[in-house]
Symmetry: C2
């Protein structure tokens, strides 16, 4: 049994179809392990714009705040591309991050052995890659003010954004990175452009101070963002934990994900601060992949990233380590058994669709 409150937000594109496979897993858990959750489901992104005129309603944000964890699909698609800036589907996820204070976005890039060949990189370059990108996710240029597009007296336009960090914002996400490194290979690579950006200069200083004062046992390396992109591509195994701002974390985590060659496999978590009285923290789990409008509705999307996001949720928000391991090893067995969705298809394997993949995971459970 479990009275944990779970909010499910499938979103747009392939979101609903991959989320269906998680539902299958949840049903199995209810039947076989007698675990049940207090589940609510909501709409977000383009789906919410269509039905409610806004990418996310206050009511949905309130539900997310009340939940023990949020399982998120993905948002966006060409249908909503021409909407004004203030009405984009992306605001659904951006508002959740901001309003729930989800400042630490954890994006693992893991190369699973059976999928080494799915990478565009050579096998010996990527075999064994296991990187955790920790991206700051409630600050920086994503939310900094002032921002806008203004028309100057001569009729010409000027667009501007502010990339800004307070030292406390840097310190708390740095601690998340150092804590994770301690449970991994004890190394943090902190990424910025301290050679050209003032916020980057502060970033480097604060991360260095936190390491010195609180994590002298963890190795800290500072790297410029351009060099990090280069190194990820040429020697990815050098990295353990990569720490970056909202913007650099966005680009570099996508790159790290891409080099595994199995984007459709990668989950992520976004965590808030631990409440000192309840010991709880807000958390949202979502696949790294987006809404993939080009393949939505075709039944060919890979549901494993969404399923593995749910496994992360079980482990980190619900304290159900055993069930998380069970689910992750079921996914491992399905892959070892040769089933592949189109995105990770290789010669000699059996190509299957979304629901066959989901069923196979349940069968292995």
């Amino acid at each position: 049994a479990s009275n944990k409150k779970l909010l499910i937000l499938p979103g747009d594109g392939i979101g609903p179809e991959v989320m269906r496979e998680v539902r299958r897993v949840i049903d199995w858990m209810g039947r076989r392990r007698a675990v049940s959750f207090d589940i609510d489901e909501g709409i977000v992104g383009g789906a919410s714009i269509d039905a409610q005129g806004t990418p996310i309603t206050d009511e949905t944000v309130a539900k997310a705040k009340a939940a023990d964890a949020v399982l998120f699909g993905s948002v966006g698609g060409p249908k909503w591309d021409s909407l004004p800036f203030e009405q984009r589907p992306e605001l659904g996820i951006l508002r959740l991050r901001k309003d729930l204070g989800l400042f630490a976005n954890l994006r693992p890039a893991l190369v699973m052995d059976p999928l080494v060949e799915a990478s565009s990189l050579k096998a010996d370059i990527v075999r064994g890659v296991d990187i955790m990108v920790v991206r700051e996710s409630t600050g920086g240029v994503y939310f900094g003010e002032p921002r806008g597009v203004e028309t100057l007296p001569d009729g010409k336009r000027r667009g501007f954004d502010t990339d800004v960090y307070h030292e406390d914002e840097i310190a708390r996400v740095a601690r998340v990175a150092f804590d994770l490194a301690r449970k991994r290979r004890n190394k943090v690579t902190s990424v910025e452009k301290a050679n050209v950006m003032q916020s980057g200069r502060l970033w480097r200083a604060v991360v260095g101070e936190i390491q010195k004062a609180e994590y002298p046992d963890v190795q800290l390396e500072n790297m410029y963002a351009d060099n990090c992109a280069m190194q990820l591509c040429s020697r990815p195994k050098q990295f353990d934990v990569i720490l970056g701002s909202n913007l650099f974390g966005d680009v570099l985590s996508d790159l790290a994900a891409a080099l595994t060659g199995s984007l459709g496999m990668l989950p992520s978590a976004t965590l808030g601060a631990v409440d000192p009285t309840t010991g709880k923290r807000h958390a949202l789990y979502e696949p790294i992949h987006g809404s993939a409008p080009d393949i939505a509705g075709k039944g060919i999307a890979n549901p494993l990233a969404q399923i593995l996001s749910f496994a992360m949720l079980l482990r980190w928000s619900f304290g159900m380590e055993e069930d998380a391991v069970l689910l992750e090893s079921a996914v491992g067995k399905v892959l070892a058994g040769g089933l592949r969705t189109a995105d990770i298809m290789q010669q000699g394997m059996a190509r299957v669709g979304t629901s066959v993949m989901g069923e196979a995971v349940v069968r292995e459970l």
Copy 2:
């Protein structure tokens, strides 16, 4: 003969040693092709800090303005890492870009056939890759005001930068990209984060307007920066010209360079506006690779990027197409002959140092 004015700025790290090999080429041109230049040499970056207390003097900037072209090495190194922000070696190149109005930084990422195996990516993914990144280089977050690190009343620090673009800045660099695309494979991928940044939203709008009004024959694709990083890693052949802001262009051009696996081979050019009366434009040429302090002084650096930067200079600033082709094909022959510096070494090839490589190029000329 030629009375073209050339300013040579070797800079720091491996800069001086790779520049020496260009001098060898210039000497050969004087002896064999009776071409001579009006050459001046200056110091910049850490070398200038050490000798003159500033990363670049006004006098050197004035010389650069007076020159028909600048051949630049690279700046920076651990020796100067702890200097205050206002005194970094990087300011040498940043000030040259800004003061000479060098707004279009052209960074080709070309996979040469004999070097396909040097890439960390699989041969079939990178064979034939030929990308030109056009990076805006006098605006954006590199120069935007306000910027700074301030101490708040409670003693805490806050660092901030402004990413800002005027529509004219976007338009002029977009035109450079579209013009280049017309001479290539007719496609421009314009990169931003229009889904989260206001300057990105203006960027996308203006690039679209220029394409519609002036380049309807060129294909324009808009792509988010995170997705572009991903696509560069997984399917680089889809790209022809990539257009981005100063910051996105910095990161994505380094990534594009890295995936070729032969960073030590890649030249770049940074161009100013054409003066309507003289028909001239300021231009600076430099290798993509940095000062590589770890290998500086060892005589093992690859001089080919610096030599190929000089070839670009001959072609674009001095109108010496024939000499440029001669030099580029000499480089091709040296590689075909099996010589390799350490960075591009492969089995079965002959490993050589900086000066042997430079001599070999002159021998092929």
